[in-house]
Symmetry: D2
Subunit: 375 residues, 4 copies
């Protein structure tokens, strides 16, 4: 408990900051102070996500119509958890000492989408600067994130960590929330429904685990890497299919008496993924799109229309899905721990990123511990 007091008097912390695109430096930065409805979190673990690579090399993702001013000293990192060390004015939702995972998006609360509860689709995303600062925050995207020892966060982005979870695994709560959100938008009533998850990355594996926890049956996973498929089995896939060695659309139809499945959760971003997804579906089925590549994909639109197929792109982790995912984890109905493969200290971030990007040693989720240093 001592370190919390230390924080209050602390002047600086270690943080990775972005200079020019691709240039990360570990520097000393002032510890930020929480404002109204905010808390200060001591970051205990931060996972690396593919979007981090995008942020580091290209800037905040998904900006429309004009970029924010380039932010020297900006700290990326958006999959993190930690311990609350200070609460800002008006906060009684959380208390000092609680362990929390942190969602990315705190909506502005005043645009059309936020008024609808669609805070991850906030129309003021990126407008957290200047005269008309709308207060939107996207931790690690447009506001300082988790590759640092401390971070300020809005209470809306905080989710309590189940006690039995390690810090490293707790970084996967938000990923599980994204998977939960995807299943929500697919209709939510997944118990007893057939589900294909395409792509065995962190979101795909989480989709398998959440789908299984909610009773989807069967849960079929496709990927092109056998070791990933093996992890898929550990988190609950009933059937795994290696798309590199067999025609997965035919296989799925074969497993379903030619009818196809009710739901597909696309998490691969492969060039033909959307097309494969729709052809795996039963007439009247639904696809959630949770991944993408940078290139446009050829899509058989006629098949979508004549088969009454719905497709749902999901941005982040809306509808408080992270809180519900955390509840499943607390109930031990969901165990994301097989997804965590590697841990590094704060100063090892470049190595951690390399492990993640190059899938070194079977890396899936690579975590850094901002309070630790190798040297």
């Amino acid at each position: 408990m001592d370190d919390w007091n230390v924080v209050h008097g602390m002047k600086s912390m270690k943080a990775w900051v972005l200079g020019d695109p691709g240039q990360l430096s570990l520097i000393n930065k002032p510890v930020p102070a929480p404002g109204v409805a905010e808390v200060l979190v001591r970051v205990d673990a931060t996972a690396i996500c593919a979007t981090d690579l995008e942020v580091i090399s290209h800037g905040p993702p998904a900006m429309i119509g004009g970029e924010p001013p380039f932010n020297r000293n900006f700290t990326p990192g958006h999959e993190y958890m930690g311990t609350i060390v200070e609460v800002g004015p008006t906060v009684d939702e959380f208390v000092v000492g609680e362990r929390v995972a942190v969602e990315i998006h705190a909506g502005c609360g005043r645009c059309e989408r936020c008024r609808q509860g669609m805070y991850t689709s906030c129309l003021n995303y990126g407008r957290n600067y200047g005269e008309f600062n709308k207060g939107h925050r996207a931790n690690g995207f447009t506001t300082d994130g988790g590759f640092a020892q401390y971070a300020v966060n809005h209470v809306n982005t905080l989710v309590r960590v189940p006690e039995h979870l390690s810090d490293e695994v707790a970084t996967l709560i938000v990923t599980a929330g994204t998977a939960m959100y995807g299943l929500d938008v697919l209709g939510g009533l997944v118990a007893g429904e057939s589900l294909v998850v395409t792509g065995a990355g962190p979101i795909g594996l989480s989709a398998v685990a959440v789908g299984k926890a909610l009773g989807a049956s069967p849960v079929i996973l496709t990927d092109i890497v056998d070791s990933r498929l093996a992890v898929g089995r550990r988190v609950g896939a009933d059937v795994v299919l290696n798309a590199a060695t067999e025609p997965v659309v035919d296989a799925v139809r074969g497993l379903t008496r030619g009818l196809g499945v009710n739901l597909v959760f696309e998490c691969s971003g492969a060039p033909n993924a959307v097309n494969d997804a729709i052809h795996m579906l039963k007439r009247g089925g639904r696809v959630c799109l949770g991944a993408f590549s940078n290139d446009p994909a050829l899509v058989d639109v006629g098949y979508i229309v004549t088969n009454n197929i719905y497709l749902y792109g999901i941005r982040g982790e809306g509808q408080s899905a992270v809180r519900r995912a955390a509840s499943l984890i607390a109930q031990k109905k969901l165990d994301p721990s097989p997804l965590h493969t590697h841990t590094f200290a704060l100063d090892q971030l470049p190595t951690a990123i390399r492990y993640f990007r190059e899938k070194v040693d079977g890396a899936i989720k690579v975590v850094i511990k901002p309070q630790e240093f190798r040297d």
Copy 2:
């Protein structure tokens, strides 16, 4: 009213039937008898739809996994209306003498989708033959349709025609129902929402009219033919944009302070239509896909995901939307009459098809009157 009695004793009628693909002949056929839950309809007007051309040249649309036996003597035509001249056993929903428009799809009532109320997505579509005849009917697709003097129909496909409507215009009730269905799946709460309709064919123009009747605002219509856009204005479009002469995505964004609209109803089937649609949308917006070309389209999937866009393919006219559209017409909130342009007699079907296909003389909806003959 005399002719109803005549029917009961009648032995034959005139009907167009399909032989080899593309071969239509006008022959004499027995008048069919209505079974349980069916009625016999004297067909008073039948409109031509693009799908008819597909049926005539290629067979029933949207078959998956094996075709039905080729049906010599099959009568196409699926947009028709008429007068009930006989009711089958157990029918008290309708009485002889009522004018009705006819929907395409009568679901099997026993598959997963029919149990959900998704009868246009019936999993037994096309299985209306042989030992395991599931009773599904798709008038003019898999069972005899409206290019004939009489047709048998299931009560589920019948919708009463508002009194003030001519026979010709009444063939447009089902088209209006398709537009209504599309707006339903977009969420239904369209009052006050901004809507773009792409493509000013019969469904697109109906989407403009229904959207306007339900209070969408503004309603923006795009097409590449000025005369069609002019009809769009007549049925209620607030803004029309000619895609041949201006960049419509930019124009739509310009009309919405850069944000984009909430809803797009894609009715053009143009190669870049889906891509244009998603880029016309506000983050968190929705697209209904009501048209398509035969070729796959390049789609910017990443934009869909990062903007939380939902896309809904619609098959036919589900959720009793036709009945609700008919109510709007009866209330004179919706007037599809500007879409009807030409009328021909039964024996003039080949000419009528040519007018429709080649858009002769500004043809939009071309109707034949099966009880009339030119000679």
Copy 3:
């Protein structure tokens, strides 16, 4: 435009304030200053609502678990409109000079319900004071309202007034929004659905008008006062039934071949209203509860269960329904003007209240004009 400049330098305004329960005084008060995301509105017209009487005699409605501190100098009045005369920091959603109607509820933006978009059900309602002020505002309920010359409001509560609308009628926009919200929660797809509205007060009459604008058919209105039913006809009721002189449940079933209607919007608060509503319904129908008396009502729960009936209580005007209602008014599909019956000056509030409470001279909506004085 001059007066806006005056405001900036103005020190005080006239406002009615509440002392002890039931004690209203017209005093001078400082003009408040808008904060972040707020604007200052010059109040041009304020209508009187039954809830105002409740607020004045008993305090803020619907408090659960502990009252807020009694607020001397509190200004009631929650159905008002006016002109923006100053915008607070970060506001670019509105500009000075715009005419706006004002919704009651600005949610806290951080509770479970606000995160879902259910801002009228904010769990921090009433917590706009003290150390843990959550920022929730309910104009005229828990924060100063419209029986004054100026009021500060959050941008989320502002809706643009269609140009053709008088100030007096513009106070009815929010009432129309409540009716729209009720129809939304009933499923939204009301076109062609049969609807009974019970009770011809302002919300009931608005429900008739909005239901009719959206295509409900038939729209049946019940009340016990013929003059109110006559107004109901003016705003679109297809059938009116006087519950004092005929058995309305039987009448409704008689009008629907014994089946009952699909939707009932209960706006009377009569003791047997809920019971009547459920017995007017078709099996599988839905009731919106928009009114109530202070006494519990006897309800035939068995009928609800065995007929799969859903009932929806509505609090205020959620889901941005007010904005959509305003759009219908701007499109002239909806005209609330027959509901406005009387206008008074600011200092005549007690008289205005008496007219409203005692329905003097057929009063329905009684409006005061805060910028005007009789003397």
Copy 4:
């Protein structure tokens, strides 16, 4: 397998039939033959439900507007399972030899509700006789049920029994389906949501088990019998409250920091149950009504309105919920076996009914085995 062949040649079976109200006799009756879309089921186990007592003493439940002709020789019993021994014409959905549980309702397939997928709310319920027989079947309510050795059933009412389940426990699949349907109409997204179930009868205990399987947390159960509450704990209740000894509304609010829970599933039919349910809820919460007494209940309607509470009456087990519940059982996420307490032979039905009605020896679900005889 031999007995199936025997059936085809069999002329008669043992069946309980209803004479005058309350008069049950065990007689010989012809084995019925399955029609189109029907199968013949050898009934292996039939549970007794409170509604059976109602049917036996008063006739088919929930008839509106006129009773069907009194049906001498009618066989009640609607919670049964068995083995398919013959399939009717067009049936390939099931094959001879499959074990199936049987739902109550097969909708007519042609009314407004069936077209919506709401087959348990079929508007032609009870109209399975006479000239306008609409084909609706409600096994054991309006058509012959399971207190017999054989029964004919529509394929829509059949659900495959998971292999590991005993015949006796398999009669509880439909009860689990009712619980699942209730949770569906409450929104379906119950993972992580707080849930109170009031009443620990078979549906209440099933609601606890299904709610827990889907991740609701906490699940709180109330009843007035400790032994029932103990079974509640076995099927997953996190907290049990004895309403006879403590004020349950206060207790629930105490367990939820004064806020109340998100969902209440009312399964007690107690006089104050609805009122208690709404006061246990968080603002914006939802109640499912799955039970009722014959007397109307006093309900605080004002509380419903001012707290935006929704109430959902549920009739039977719609939305294919039984199939999804069966899937959860097959996955061993749901175990209804603790609800089964007693088994009797066919001729012991009167004793079985007495055990059920009087809760002899802690009876919850009492099952008869129609293929067995005590003597």
